[in-house]
């Protein structure tokens, strides 16, 4: 850059402006080409991403502080109520868990009888969602863990009540995840009632998913629970995804018009679980694209 004095009384052409423009456009196009083709630029992204990390923390801080203030100033009465509620909830879940343990043992026995691969419990790790907006063109969120915590690209994200999405870019200390409601996201599922397999595609709306490949005469009903089928390789089987909420069968069309509501409230989750499936994730079997 030319270090001449900047004043409006000394106007004139900025030297080599067009040349610099052309050069930078060329570099940008090269970068985009390689970035789109394959992930050669991952290291570049990660190193610049680490520089953005403090900014993300700063942006996240007010919201975090606000929550902390809210927690700290909550009244005694409120806390007691919450404690009672949580205790009741814990009792219920514990009771259910007892049954679950027995069922798990039974399931393992039956699977052994069938010579099927035993289903192991998935390892999980809790991550917090940072109050940071990412890509405006798709539904994504930023979580506060990265490759340092063992996060990898394509890892499944699950909230308490259902599948949330998957990691698309694992950074050093923060990662970006794509929600299942993104139009680029497709997820292999099955109907829990009868095992009918299909694919759930994001609609671009946070509270709606689409099932574009359900044939007209398929056995699917409003209220059916859809769970992950584990076929894509990215998501372990058996996690709830959505509940079918409308089915429109059009006689002339090959496929019915089916929509579903995600089980997890995608717009409101604060904490998610990252799932480390027991078998290593197959490469190239990610659920998106």
């Amino acid at each position: 850059m030319v270090a001449s004095r900047d004043s409006s009384s000394n106007p004139g052409r900025i030297p080599a402006l067009g040349l610099r423009l052309l050069g930078l456009i060329f570099i940008s196009i090269l970068l985009m080409y390689f970035d789109n083709r394959d992930n050669h630029l991952d290291t570049v992204r990660k190193s610049i991403g680490a520089a953005v990390y403090p900014l993300r923390v700063i942006v996240d801080a007010p919201v975090r502080l606000w929550r902390w203030v809210g927690d700290a100033t909550r009244s005694h009465n409120d806390l007691e109520l919450q404690l009672a509620r949580l205790n009741a909830e814990r009792l219920l879940t514990n009771a259910r868990l007892q049954k679950f343990n027995a069922l798990e043992a039974e399931n393992a026995r039956l699977r052994a009888l069938l010579d099927a691969r035993a289903q192991v419990r998935d390892k999980t790790r809790v991550a917090e969602i940072m109050s940071v907006d990412a890509n405006p063109y798709n539904h994504s969120l930023v979580i506060n863990v990265g490759t340092l915590d063992g996060v990898f690209d394509g890892q499944a994200l699950v909230a308490v009540d259902g599948v949330v999405g998957q990691v698309i870019e694992a950074g050093l200390m923060t990662s970006q995840a794509m929600l299942i409601s993104d139009t680029d996201h497709a997820l292999p599922v099955e109907v829990n009632r009868n095992g009918l397999r299909t694919i759930v595609v994001g609609s671009g709306k946070i509270d709606q998913l689409e099932l574009p490949f359900v044939v007209n005469n398929a056995d699917i009903r409003v209220g059916d629970l859809l769970v992950t089928s584990g076929l894509g390789g990215a998501f372990p089987a058996g996690y709830p995804v959505a509940i079918v909420d409308s089915i429109t069968r059009i006689p002339q069309e090959p496929y019915a018009d089916v929509t579903a509501v995600p089980s997890a409230s995608l717009g409101q989750v604060r904490e998610v679980m990252l799932i480390f499936s027991a078998p290593a994730p197959e490469s190239g079997a990610a659920g998106n694209e």
Partner: protein
């Protein structure tokens, strides 16, 4: 001289950092589509004011950082920002003497070009997105321009005299 340049660069750099924070700040679902392109507006503003120090090169760097923080294609925002910085620097002598309403009116096509480039690149790369997401920022950015200009001009005047 060196110190003078550094002190002149600092407020601009700070404004870019602040702009990036505004860009990644969460907004309610309803208004998120109308988040102005703060960084594009800052690039235009500084290219108008100090075209020798802040032109295409710095716009490109800002764009790369934006690409990384948003997870878009590396180079997408960089290319768009570089182009509007070029146009601004090219016409900065004319634009500088525009009265505020006319300048605001000329911001609209600049932001529209910026969004169009992003849209175009997304299209070529095969990334589909809702088209309304491209128009909201253009409108809100144009509406926010006078406020941003008043704020930044004031800041600039104060740093210079101080």
């Amino acid at each position: 001289m060196n110190r003078g340049r550094a002190s002149r660069r600092l407020p601009v750099t700070l404004s870019f950092i602040f702009g990036l924070m505004l860009t990644i700040m969460p907004l309610p679902e309803a208004v998120a589509a109308f988040r102005p392109d703060w960084l594009a507006m800052l690039v235009i503003f500084w290219a108008l004011q100090l075209p020798r120090t802040w032109s295409v090169g710095s716009a490109w760097v800002v764009g790369i950082v934006l690409d990384v923080s948003q997870g878009t294609l590396l180079g997408q925002h960089a290319l768009a920002l570089t182009c509007i910085a070029y146009i601004t620097v090219r016409f900065h002598l004319q634009m500088r003497v525009f009265p505020v309403p006319q300048l605001t009116a000329s911001i609209f096509p600049l932001l529209a070009i910026y969004q169009f480039l992003l849209f175009w690149i997304n299209g070529v790369a095969g990334i589909d997105s809702l088209s309304v997401a491209y128009w909201g920022p253009v409108v809100s950015g144009t509406l926010m321009w006078p406020a941003l200009m008043v704020f930044l001009s004031g800041m600039r005047y104060r740093t210079r005299s101080g």
